[in-house]
């Protein structure tokens, strides 16, 4: 049986997830990472993407938007500004948001906030990916 560590995903308005897990995968600003128990202590910034939690009973997916993660050997804590389970996501809205963001990036002018449009696109893609 795989080793377990404690995972907490905390959102401003709720405790999103709390439990014993054997692996966590997510997107950080430095790239995608997977964390097993006994990881060295580390703090990373989260980039929008899919959060995959491997529990004893199986996999769980969620969309994770921004925040940071603190990794300790026995315990991982994710402070997320926003996180969603697949059933909470509105696909049509996400598709529409993706369209809007792509449009903004394509027709870029001096007024467009490219960084913002890009995170919006990333968020929309994360939401869509998780449902598929």
């Amino acid at each position: 049986m795989a080793e377990l560590m404690k995972l907490q995903v905390i959102c401003p308005d709720r405790m999103f997830y709390e439990g014993e897990v054997s692996m966590v995968e997510l997107n950080t600003t430095e790239g995608e990472i997977g964390i097993y128990p006994k990881h060295i202590p580390m703090t990373c910034i989260i980039a929008p993407g899919v959060l995959t939690i491997t529990e004893a009973e199986g996999l769980k997916n969620a969309a994770l938007h921004s925040g940071f993660i603190q990794i300790l050997p026995e315990k991982v804590t994710i402070l997320a500004e926003a996180a969603e389970w697949p059933h909470e996501i509105d696909v049509d809205r996400a598709e529409a948001a993706r369209g809007r963001a792509e449009e903004r990036i394509r027709t870029r002018d001096s007024k467009t906030d490219i960084a913002r449009a890009e995170t919006a696109l990333q968020r929309a893609v994360a939401r869509i990916n998780i449902i598929k």
């Binding site: 060295i40 580390m42 921004s66």
Partner: protein, 283 residues
């Protein structure tokens, strides 16, 4: 002695006021429960954020970062959280007193208000209101706090303001709320707790870059936490104010009933005396 009719009219008027205060007390009780639950749910996020940022700062005390350094020029910003509605006892007044009692003269302050009561009172006293977010105070959500902190950080980076304070009411428990003032920026480096000292933490990206991203989130979470606390306090204060108003009305109604009965008794006695006197005169 006032006539029976006058007393009765007064009594009915107080009774209808009492009905209103009673109803308001009930609604604020319900709202308080909701607000308190939300304040409690936001607490773990806030606590953890605070812990992490403190640990980071304690460890990286010699980092030169604009968010951590005091500036010489610029004004002092104060975020003032009050309510949009009155009848909450001293709730709004306590916060306004806290702001007016501030050591920085009002010419050097910029006020960001959440809540119309605070906005009106402070602009009347001659403070400069930089921005107003009153419409969010009824039901604050996290993105509202994000907007406020984004505006604050923008002004801070442009050098318009040199420090940021937050004035809000801390919700201790249902009956006691405490007006508080905390400093948001520049971030004060707190004492390191012994527990964290043992863990050497790695940062990815580098600490300075990580601070750049975490501190705005930290400010947002403090603003959000303060909003939650303030909403709970507002409803708590209103509940208490309405509770005492209801019991005051009860007292007044009691004493007026006594007066009314006495007046009624008096008029009966007088009528009797008149009848007897009349009968005596005839016989």
């Amino acid at each position: 002695m006032a006539s029976m009719r006058d007393i009765k009219r007064r009594k009915t008027s107080i009774q209808s006021t009492q009905q209103i205060t009673k109803a308001m007390k009930l609604t604020s009780t319900v709202k308080l429960q909701k607000a308190r639950a939300r304040a409690e749910q936001s607490k773990p996020y806030f606590d953890f954020m605070y812990e992490t940022v403190n640990a980071m700062l304690a460890k990286s005390g010699n980092i030169k970062h604009p968010y951590l350094q005091a500036k010489d020029s610029g004004k002092t910003a104060i975020v003032v959280i009050t309510s949009n509605r009155g009848l909450a006892g001293g709730y709004n007044n306590n916060i306004i007193k806290l702001v007016t009692g501030f050591e920085v003269p009002k010419e050097d302050t910029l006020i960001y208000t959440v809540g119309t009561k605070g906005r009106d009172a402070l602009s009347k006293r001659g403070y400069e209101i930089k921005a107003d977010y009153s419409e969010i105070v009824e039901d604050p959500i996290y993105s509202d706090a994000q907007i406020i902190s984004r505006d604050l950080l923008e002004a801070f980076e442009q050098g318009e303001i040199k420090e940021i304070y937050l004035a809000y009411t801390f919700f201790k428990n249902t009956v006691s709320h405490e007006p508080r003032r905390i400093k948001l920026l520049p971030v004060e480096t707190g004492e390191e707790t012994s527990e964290e000292k043992s863990i050497p933490m790695n940062y990815e990206p580098e600490e300075e870059e990580a601070l750049d991203m975490i501190i705005p989130k930290y400010i947002t979470s403090i603003v959000y936490g303060a909003l939650m606390q303030a909403v709970a306090s507002e409803n708590g204060a209103r509940m208490q104010a309405m509770d005492s108003a209801t019991s005051n009305a009860e007292e007044m109604i009691d004493s007026l009933s006594l007066l009314y009965n006495r007046a009624r008794q008096g008029s009966i006695t007088q009528e009797l005396t008149e009848i007897i006197a009349g009968a005596d005169a005839i016989s």
